[in-house]
């Protein structure tokens, strides 16, 4: 007779779920500066530390720049390190983000995705993380609270893999996920410890074996270090797969870099990040009932970009719509759109494609919006072309 596994169910907000995961990961150092909508994450963690439930150094820094700098030092000293930020806070961290990845510091950071000023806005969009797109971090995106919890645990597994040793961000949509209570299944502390045991950081600061950190490399060596980094981050996909495989064994939940939904025979495929993926899936399922051949591809990993997986999914689509919750102003489209366009072109796929910029500053993307979008796509396929390449979806004209 198979052993019955006890399911632990909780009702938590996204922020609380991330904090709970970080606590179960038994982090050693948390350095952070409060910013909406992530504040609850570090509030919870500070409470865990104060109540003696988590044995960690909780360092309240004087800015995000300092917070991430403290994390960098802590990670190099061999501590399991966690931080969390959003929006302007992530922007303030920016220079250290590059340094943390290049110095191979396996920091895990939750980003409660929020719009950038100005005008001042505290609500969800992806402008903050898209600014950090090219910093050499691995960027994961959660669709719901369960995923925010799971991906936080997986982030430690991925970051600390000796093959890569890279920082990982776990993105959860501000307010939509950070402040919404959802039921989720959590692992036991023992299961988490078995999944992500503390392993020594191989290059940790050690007085008996001194190493130089953050050295200068001039024109005769700098490029070789960058070439090395180019290789290292491309090792992340197999590391992700391994982390996902062992996670599925204890949790029963499976994560792919890209999660396809009804894409096999889909004529129209919509690509998106974050909580919108669930909205799109819900409506796609409904429209499937009316025989609309529509599919959704949600990216769990945005960097490194799962190019081959995306190319395979899109190979036979008649129409590809990209959902961008950020924009590259003055560029050829939103960040996800330009990635998808490049993927299509590089892989010889020619299909009608358009960018749908939506949800900036927390503008709701409701089920009715998703349905309207799908109708637009169906009409465009009937006509055989889009009437624009960049749509500002839901903007008041």
């Amino acid at each position: 007779m198979s052993e019955l596994k006890q399911i632990r169910r909780m009702a938590l907000t996204g922020d609380e779920a991330v904090a709970y995961a970080a606590k179960q990961a038994d982090v050693d150092v948390i350095a952070a500066y409060p910013i909406t909508p992530q504040t609850i994450i570090v509030e919870r963690l500070s409470r865990y530390v104060a109540d003696g439930e988590l044995n960690a150094a909780f360092i309240q820094a004087e800015s995000e720049h300092s917070a991430i700098s403290i994390c960098l030092g802590a990670a190099l000293a061999g501590a399991r390190t966690f931080t969390s930020t959003a929006s302007q806070g992530l922007a303030l961290m920016h220079e250290i983000l590059h340094i943390a990845s290049s110095m191979r510091a396996p920091i895990v950071m939750a980003i409660a995705n929020r719009a950038l000023n100005s005008p001042l806005n505290i609500h969800c969009d992806h402008s903050d993380v898209m600014n950090a797109r090219d910093t050499g971090w691995i960027h994961l995106f959660a669709n719901n609270v369960q995923e925010a919890y799971d991906l936080t645990l997986m982030a430690f597994k991925i970051a600390e893999n000796p093959e890569i040793l890279l920082p990982v961000s776990v993105n959860l949509d501000g307010f939509i996920l950070t402040h919404s209570v959802e039921p989720l299944e959590v692992l036991s502390d023992e299961e988490v410890q078995q999944y992500i045991p503390h392993i020594p950081y191989p290059y940790r600061i050690d007085f008996d074996r001194p190493l130089a950190y953050g050295v200068m490399a001039l024109p005769d060596t700098y490029m070789e270090f960058r070439r090395q980094f180019y290789e290292v981050i491309m090792k992340a996909p197999p590391v992700f797969r391994k982390a996902s495989e062992s996670f599925s064994k204890i949790s029963g939940r499976v994560y792919d870099m890209v999660t396809p939904y009804f894409v096999e025979d889909a004529e129209i495929i919509v690509i998106a990040l974050g909580s919108t993926v669930e909205t799109l899936r819900y409506v796609a399922r409904k429209l499937r009932g009316r025989n609309v051949k529509i599919g959704v591809a949600g990216l769990t990993m945005y960097r490194p970009f799962p190019e081959k997986e995306i190319a395979n999914i899109l190979a036979n689509a008649k129409c590809v719509a990209v959902m961008d919750r950020a924009y590259s102003y003055g560029g050829v489209g939103g960040p996800l759109y330009t990635d998808v366009l490049s993927t299509l072109y590089k892989n010889g796929i020619r299909t009608m494609t358009a960018d749908f910029v939506y949800g900036l500053g927390g503008r709701d993307f409701k089920l009715t919006d998703a349905e309207e979008l799908f109708n637009k796509l169906v009409r465009s396929v009937e006509i055989g072309a889009f009437d624009q390449d960049i749509y500002w979806w839901g903007v008041r004209e």
């Binding site: 110095m103 191979r104 191989p202 290059y203 190493l211 950190y213 050295v215 060596t221 490029m223």
Partner: protein, 100 residues
Amino acid sequence: MTEIDVNKIVKGEFSWKTLPPAAMIKVLTSLEYKTGTWRIEKPIIDQSKCTRCLLCWIYCPDMAVKRIDGGNVEIDYEFCKGCGICAEVCPPKAIKMVEE
């Protein structure tokens, strides 16, 4: 972890594949760093003109001028960076800077 001799990096004897991750490199002392490879011009001492005043020995910022038996001086080319201070301070102009 990859151990690579810093001096090999300085000489350009490396590829991106052999570099340690993130340039986390074994720390060497100044004795182990062979800074002589930085040089563009090398000092040559004309021992017949040298008066053994030792000004070059005093002024050399890298202690690359060594006193040898008989009161003579010689240049330690493993460390001399070719700055030319010795040639500049030499009263009888016994030291010439010659292109490498």
